[in-house]
Symmetry: C2
Subunit: 211 residues, 2 copies
DNA sequence: TGGCATACTGTTCAATTGAACAGTGATTGG
DNA sequence: CCAATCACTGTTCAATTGAACAGTATGCCA
């Protein structure tokens, strides 16, 4: 994998790459060679083709040969493949969001690299309600990202405990798992009947309220 | 604008829409009618065309007629247009990230709606270093999103004060602006020579460290 | 019972678009 | 000074792909 392909690119090639990225972002699909030609005012289509070839050779673009439409550019691979669309299941998930066909409120788009997760990670999001996790610097209104997997002690989890869903720190003492709010005003939760871990927290997104 | 177009869609139409979205996300460009045909095993290309027409009519897709390649689908408009690519300028920005042609470390992709900002917002990101803002629940390692604009008193800002860049709360007392760390161990900062506000914090992204 | 939308089959045509070929001139590194 | 890369012009061809036309069968609504 090239470390920073753009460093080897010429100024003109960066311009073309910029146009391709921009077009992709704004239109949802890469430009055609003729659109590139028109944008830069080339008299020949080949000028665009040459640039694309150079960009593909240097790893800045990946070229799906022949395949017409998306034919040439496609975004820098990393950028594309790593974009996650994370379903937001509301404040208090009624069921297991991973299992049921439950409709998410909406989707949150974040790239995997920025969250430090794999591009294939299956994440879901929940809106935090209440102040029980302020000790872990998680505030009311924050959106937390979770992945369904078994938690290690100390992890922050969304759990279904005795039918109610909450965000808490998962701890184990003498082989017995329990949940602890990161706020001294809340007591530890010992599961009476069952403790179902819906997901382990991997990240957080906050909207800073306007001052 | 249709409120929730998917509600009026038939099961089959939702399937096709799902395939189009998925293809878009994974390949960076929409599928062709023939790719849809192949995926669902239609004997006729027209079956795919019919579905796309229905989806466009119901507002679930937007159809760029004739224009071959990205020709038909394109994502649901809102989803596409609102994706921000936010440049990350490192831990301590040396200059004004908005002014200079300074190369960002990398880009963070987040959709505008999830950050509560306009799709046209110009944001940049900084990595937080140190514990001077723990009182505002901003931790070492967090990534903060900022927009260049004049701060209101109480806002959290990235500021260039006497040549050094820091994240602090912006306050005004008796007409005099100053910066306050949200950590009692740090003193207030009164600008000796100049106070340049680089940006106002609008959001935050955190990678939860594995427990 | 007729009309309309859905969900397809099967075929043909034209437009969009990628790709190749044959050049020119400037620059740069060995 | 030669080779390679860059940055183009100008033309032609073939593949991909969208679009249209003509049907069939089903279910639903009124």
């Amino acid at each position: 994998m090239p470390p920073t392909p753009s460093s080897e690119l010429t100024a003109r090639q960066r311009e073309v790459l910029g146009f391709v990225r921009d077009h992709q972002r704004r239109h949802g699909h890469p430009p055609t060679t003729r659109e590139i030609q028109a944008h830069f005012g080339f008299a020949s289509q080949t000028a665009a083709v040459d640039h694309l070839r150079a960009l593909a050779r240097k790893g800045a673009l990946q070229h799906h040969a022949g395949k017409a439409r998306g034919h040439l550019p496609a975004l820098a691979a990393a950028l594309r493949t790593s974009l996650l669309e994370i379903p937001l299941y509301g404040t208090i998930p009624a069921g297991l969001p991973t299992a049921a066909e439950q409709e998410p409120d909406r989707y949150i788009s974040v790239d995997a690299a920025s969250l430090g997760v794999s591009a294939r990670a299956r994440l879901f999001a929940l809106r935090v309600r209440g102040d029980s996790m302020t000790g872990a610097n998680i505030l009311d209104g924050d959106t937390v990202f979770l992945t369904p997997r078994d938690p290690r002690p100390g992890a922050i989890v969304a759990a279904l405990i005795d039918g109610e869903s909450t965000l808490k720190r998962f701890l184990v003492q003498r082989g017995r798992p329990f949940l602890r709010a990161e706020n001294p005003r809340y007591p530890d939760l010992l599961p009476a009947t069952e403790l179902i871990i819906q997901g382990v927290m991997v990240g957080l997104l906050r909207q800073q309220p306007a001052a």
